[in-house]
């Protein structure tokens, strides 16, 4: 890494640039604060890279367009914020059901409805997991810095391709808009994964074949393979099925696809936990405040550590359960009313302390420090 590759960049710019490095060549979207710079940047950059940028009429169409593009074999992405993310839910379910790899960036704002367009929030954590109906697989990543946004956008594409699922990159206004120094990595520094493609004869190809890996090999539309894609429950041929056995096979496989590979997906880092009796569980921009709070608390002699999540879904239940056996007190700061705190409670099997803000302000290190002091007495 050369120092002359240092650039001042926002999270939104890093997301757009990283998507290009991951091989994304199709973007369809509708501009919305605080995500608009992703579309702005890609409108300029995609044509330079031989890709396609389309501004759609709305977010329903944006989501539909990236599914269509991905079915032709092109890595595809859209970017939005809360109101647009709500409109995308129906087609996100379609992507889950039809196993179409794609990446959806949601730069969260305060909600519900149009809420707080220009201010930070983390209130779409549950929508990212359960926004579309039905039991369905999804992967959600939530970076804290510009550099992490760069890295995790690439990983999001890798997950989407590897597991044939929609992947949500959950940002917030702080991470999206903060200008920060990053040393731009060279393209060779990253592993870039492409979906597994079939080598079968087109006449033998089963688009939703049951395989050992649970991930059926893909065939690009337009490459000589004719098959049916539907949002209805289907069998291996891709045609609708009502047979309980076939339906059960499909839906268990769709969900198992993420469960059995969770160890490849779940990612977090811990610091100062060796002797800790308090742990702060944090993600997104709130983790930045948490780091400062934990350091300040350590300076006061308080034994506190941090569990910072990069991947929110699948959730690290087992890892937090294990941690809860030796650390009793948990604090979860988040810019919502306790969406992740609830999951941490499930994992730790006891109530956890919360620091919540829903007023459009970033939780401060002092607010977390106060909570640390409160639980330490």
């Amino acid at each position: 890494m050369r120092e002359d590759d240092a650039r001042l960049m926002t999270g939104n710019e890093a997301c757009a640039e990283a998507a290009l490095v991951a091989g994304m060549r199709f973007f369809a979207g509708y501009p919305i604060t605080p995500s608009s710079e992703i579309a702005e940047c890609l409108a300029r950059r995609l044509p330079q890279e031989g890709g396609t940028f389309i501004q759609m009429e709305d977010e329903l169409a944006s989501m539909a367009a990236i599914i269509g593009a991905s079915l032709t074999g092109v890595k595809s992405m859209t970017a939005t914020s809360g109101p647009g993310f709500s409109l995308m839910q129906e087609n996100i379910g379609y992507a889950s059901m039809a196993e179409v790899p794609c990446v959806i960036v949601n730069v969260q704002r305060g909600g519900p409805s149009t809420g707080l367009p220009t201010l930070p929030s983390q209130s779409d954590v549950m929508q990212a997991r359960w926004g579309t109906h039905g039991d369905h697989p999804v992967i959600v990543v939530a970076p804290s810095t510009v550099r992490e946004t760069y890295d995790w956008t690439i990983k999001a594409f890798n997950f989407a391709e590897r597991f044939r699922v929609p992947v949500v990159v959950l940002l917030d206004e702080i991470v999206a808009h903060v200008n920060e120094k990053i040393i731009v990595p060279t393209r060779g520094e990253f592993e870039v994964i492409d979906r597994d493609r079939t080598t079968q004869d087109p006449k033998d190809y089963l688009p939703y074949a049951l395989t050992d890996s649970d991930i059926p090999p893909f065939a690009d539309f337009g490459s000589g393979y004719r098959y049916n894609v539907t949002g209805l429950s289907h069998d291996e041929t891709g045609f609708p099925a009502n047979d309980p056995k076939k339906v059960d096979l499909l839906h268990r496989r769709l969900n198992r696809k993420i469960e059995r590979y969770r160890n490849e997906i779940v990612h977090y880092k811990t610091e100062l936990l060796e002797d800790a009796d308090i742990v702060v569980v944090a993600y997104g921009s709130t983790a930045r405040s948490a780091y400062r709070a934990v350091r300040n608390a350590r300076a006061l002699g308080l034994k506190v550590g941090i569990f910072k999540m990069f991947v929110l879904w699948p959730f690290p239940y087992q890892e937090l359960d294990k941690l809860a056996r030796r650390v009793e007190k948990f604090i979860v700061p988040e810019m919502n009313l306790g969406q992740i705190a609830h999951e941490v409670t499930c994992a730790a099997k006891h109530e956890v302390a919360q620091v919540n803000r829903i007023d459009g302000g970033l939780i401060t290190p002092d607010e977390i420090l106060e909570a640390i002091k409160n639980v330490s007495v």
Binding site: E3, A6, R7, L8, T33, P117, T118, L119, I174, H177, V178, N179, E180, K181, S285, R288, S289, Y291, R292, L362, T364, P365, D366
Partner: protein
């Protein structure tokens, strides 16, 4: 804890404060080799409304990117000055444009009340570059970011064809601050 210096540039939308913040952060981070972040807070309006841009410069990794204990506060409106002056730390600097800020709140900080926009208009030739005049003053009074770094950052961020005007604005700001005692 290492060195941490906090700037807040405040006023209303359209005064170029977010660009000014980006220039300071880029100067510190890219051309001076320190760590810097720039963040902003603004309303949903397309123009007008209160606007604030914050820059943190540090010699270590910057976690919390917002200003809480301000070393330098720039105010381009009375409203911003009234709202933020209490966030300036003891012996910090309050820099105001005297055309907009007429009532200066009392506090334990150094105050520089200067005709920034008026100077941009009369001496530089365009009121539009008041933000760059302010950057010149800030560079000179704080000494946190080198003059060469700020110059380089200005050249990389301003529109083509306006380089000379902006450099003139920057140097005018520096000269103004050299007159402060």
């Amino acid at each position: 804890m290492g060195f941490r210096y906090e700037f807040r540039l405040s006023g209303s939308g359209g005064q170029g404060l977010i660009l000014a913040g980006k220039i300071l952060a880029e100067a510190a981070a890219i051309y001076d080799g320190k760590n810097a972040t720039q963040s902003q807070s603004y309303g949903p309006e397309a123009r007008g409304g209160s606007s604030r841009s914050e820059v943190i410069v540090s010699d270590e990794e910057i976690d919390y990117p917002k200003a809480v204990n301000i070393d330098l506060l720039l105010c381009f409106t009375q409203e911003a000055c009234d709202k933020y002056h209490q966030d300036v730390k003891e012996m910090g600097i309050l820099l105001v444009d005297e055309s907009y800020v007429t009532k200066i709140p009392k506090g334990k900080y150094k105050v520089y009340s200067v005709p920034i926009t008026e100077t941009a208009e009369t001496k530089v030739g365009k009121a539009l570059v008041a933000n760059i005049v302010a950057i010149g003053i800030i560079t000179q009074v704080t000494g946190v970011i080198s003059k060469e770094a700020v110059e380089a950052a200005i050249l990389s961020r301003v529109p083509k064809g306006t380089e000379d005007l902006n450099l003139k604005a920057f140097n005018t700001g520096i000269e103004m601050a050299q007159q402060f005692k």
